[in-house]
């Protein structure tokens, strides 16, 4: 399967991107464009797999049914630009440059730039184990980023875009304010620079993880059972986080992939079942407005919070 995806990325690069770069006089970016081609193909695969599984699931066991699902359309747009479009390109280029510059400066001093494999030499040569450890560490970092985004009012003003959706579906995972995404990127980059981040060594694993994140937002009555819900974040568990009473400061179930951190820091609630979602404090534009309307309403709210 990996070979098929890689072939598709190779075709995209050779048949479309390279001639385009050549025509635009930007051939110096051909290496970077191939990195983006891989991200785009795997992103498209993520969206397709998620679509193929979540759509039947949402039709089979929906939590809610809506006469008009127009509010979901904007989430589709968020997903496409986040997973296939410009964001992977920007983050790829920015992170790559930053990592090379900072770690290069460390190497200049004769030190070895930090990586998990350097910290635990036994990991060298065991890429799958190492990669899973990276995922655990990054998920832990994400838990705290997410939790803090509910603590600071100005930050929650941005994060409210994600919570305002009353028609939550698997598309809602990527419904984030651009500024919120940038803060998340800086947060993850800081962690990545501390422990190093392997490149796309295991794209299928990334695909599975991103699928789980989308699935946790699905409009589906789906639980992983008593044990399963304590191992991986389920739609039932994460829906509680999007509940009307969980918006803002007093929230719960912050975990994205692993519920372990919620259990450890006592923010887990396994009892709430398939609650209604949304943020009663958010203005209507955040819930049903266009992409631009959501972004501007959220920015205005952030400014109000900062100048209060």
């Amino acid at each position: 399967m990996i070979a098929a995806f890689d072939q598709a990325a190779g075709w995209l690069q050779e048949a479309l991107l390279l001639p385009m770069l050549f025509g635009l006089g930007l051939m110096e970016w051909e290496d970077v464009s191939f990195g983006w081609a891989l991200f785009a193909v795997y992103g498209a695969a993520q969206v397709s797999v998620t679509f193929a599984i979540c759509v039947p699931l949402e039709q089979w066991r929906p939590v809610e049914q809506w006469a008009n699902g127009r509010a979901v359309l904007v989430d589709v747009f968020y997903t496409l630009i986040s997973r296939i479009g410009i964001l992977p390109l920007v983050t790829f280029v920015a992170f790559y440059k930053l990592q090379v510059m900072l770690n290069g400066a460390i190497a200049d001093q004769g030190w070895v730039p930090p990586t998990l494999e350097r910290l635990i030499p036994a990991l060298l040569g065991h890429q799958v184990v190492t990669f899973i450890l990276y995922i655990i560490i990054l998920d832990f970092a994400d838990y705290w980023k997410h939790r803090l985004s509910h603590v600071f009012d100005w930050w929650y003003a941005l994060h409210a875009v994600h919570h305002a959706q009353r028609q939550m579906t698997f598309w809602s995972d990527d419904r984030n304010h651009l500024l919120d995404d940038i803060i998340g990127f800086i947060w993850q980059t800081a962690i990545a620079l501390l422990i190093g981040i392997p490149p796309m060594q295991f794209p299928l694993l990334i695909l599975v993880l991103r699928f789980l994140e989308s699935l946790s937002h699905a409009n589906a009555r789906l639980s992983f059972g008593w044990l399963g819900e304590r191992l991986l974040v389920s739609p039932r568990f994460h829906r509680a986080h999007h509940g009307l009473t969980a918006a803002g400061y007093d929230s719960l179930n912050y975990g994205a992939i692993l519920p372990w951190w919620d259990m450890l820091f006592r923010t887990a609630d396994f009892n709430r079942s398939f609650v209604a979602t949304g943020d009663p404090t958010a203005e209507e534009a955040l819930a049903t407005g266009s992409y631009i309307a959501q972004h501007s309403a959220s920015l205005r709210r952030m400014v109000r919070e900062l100048t209060r």
Binding site: Q13, P199, M200
Partner: protein
């Protein structure tokens, strides 16, 4: 006697096949090196590395093989016969690496950091850094070690660094996105990836003397072992063009889909290519034009061939 000879010959065959050597391929897109058996054309194993291996170079005494891991910020030192990892050296962004012919300098093009670093080739201590905008890509040395010439992919320039005075001697214009650079019979050849041509420059002044077409996306230039031919890989046209190194006239052209990049020449006359976008290594028989491909890791870039290697 004839039967005995045939028996001995057939017994000797497997050993001969085993001694046919191995190839090491740098899979820049998935942090590994592929080891390929030259005789069976089978990938024997993958050696995990830290992040992003690109190019490789033998030490001047040919006893060690260096592999640059750019994002890992280290140079890996291998035994060129067994492909066993011997040690790791912290080096900032080692994209393209090379030793001056007099073995006085180890030169590192740090493409992402826009700098060229000169290191002591024994201690690997930094001697001098040349910030050069931007994207220092490939390098070629003057045979007398008086200078190293660096293509600056991001600014369409070629820089000449004086290795005696340790200064930048000149920076000259090239075509767009220059990549490969080669010293050929007292001249410099620069392949311009952003166009379809190779420029011929005077190494003393950097002045362009002539230009000739090879194909869209002219990327890298490789002299054949006997010095009579030059192979030019064209990225957009997906071709390898063979030039007469004296006249620079085109002799042949081979179609190589998949993003041809680095080349190694085998003693049997075959030419090994990395194909960046299809995750394969291609083996071209120049006599017949036939091409055989071997699957390797993602985005294979640098390649090292040792017909006497016995990898473990």
């Amino acid at each position: 006697m004839r039967r005995l000879f045939l028996l001995l010959f057939s017994l000797a065959l497997p050993a001969a096949a085993h001694a046919a050597g191995a190839v090491l391929v740098m899979n820049s897109g998935e942090a590994s090196l592929s080891v390929i058996d030259m005789s069976t054309r089978q990938e024997l194993r993958r050696i995990p590395v830290l992040r992003e291996p690109h190019h490789t170079m033998l030490t001047p005494d040919r006893k060690e093989l260096l592999v640059g891991d750019t994002v890992g910020n280290e140079v890996l030192v291998f035994d060129p016969n067994s492909f066993e990892l011997k040690r790791r050296i912290p080096i900032a962004d080692p994209y393209q690496i090379g030793f001056s012919p007099d073995a006085k300098y180890f030169v590192v093009n740090a493409l992402a950091r826009a700098q060229v670093d000169l290191y002591d080739p024994v201690t690997f201590k930094l001697i001098k850094r040349f910030p050069l905008k931007s994207m220092p890509s490939h390098m070629a040395f003057a045979p007398d070690s008086s200078a190293v010439f660096i293509t600056l992919q991001g600014t369409a320039k070629l820089a000449a660094i004086d290795l005696k005075a340790l200064t930048v001697r000149w920076i000259a214009d090239t075509g767009p996105a220059p990549a490969g650079v080669l010293w050929n019979r007292g001249k410099l050849l620069v392949a311009n990836m952003g166009s379809d041509d190779v420029w011929v420059l005077d190494p003393a002044t950097g002045k362009t003397e002539r230009k000739f077409r090879t194909g869209k996306g002219a990327h890298q230039l490789f002299p054949s072992p006997d010095g009579k031919l030059i192979y030019v890989n064209n990225r957009i046209e997906s071709t390898a063009v063979v030039l007469d190194s004296t006249t620079l006239n085109q002799i042949r052209s081979y179609k190589l889909p998949g993003g041809p990049d680095d080349i190694e020449f085998a003693p049997d006359g075959k030419v090994w290519f990395t194909l960046r976008f299809v995750h394969k290594t291609a083996v071209l028989d120049p006599a017949t034009g036939s091409i055989e491909t071997i699957s390797v890791g993602r985005s294979p870039h640098g390649i090292f061939l040792n017909s006497k290697a016995t990898p473990k």
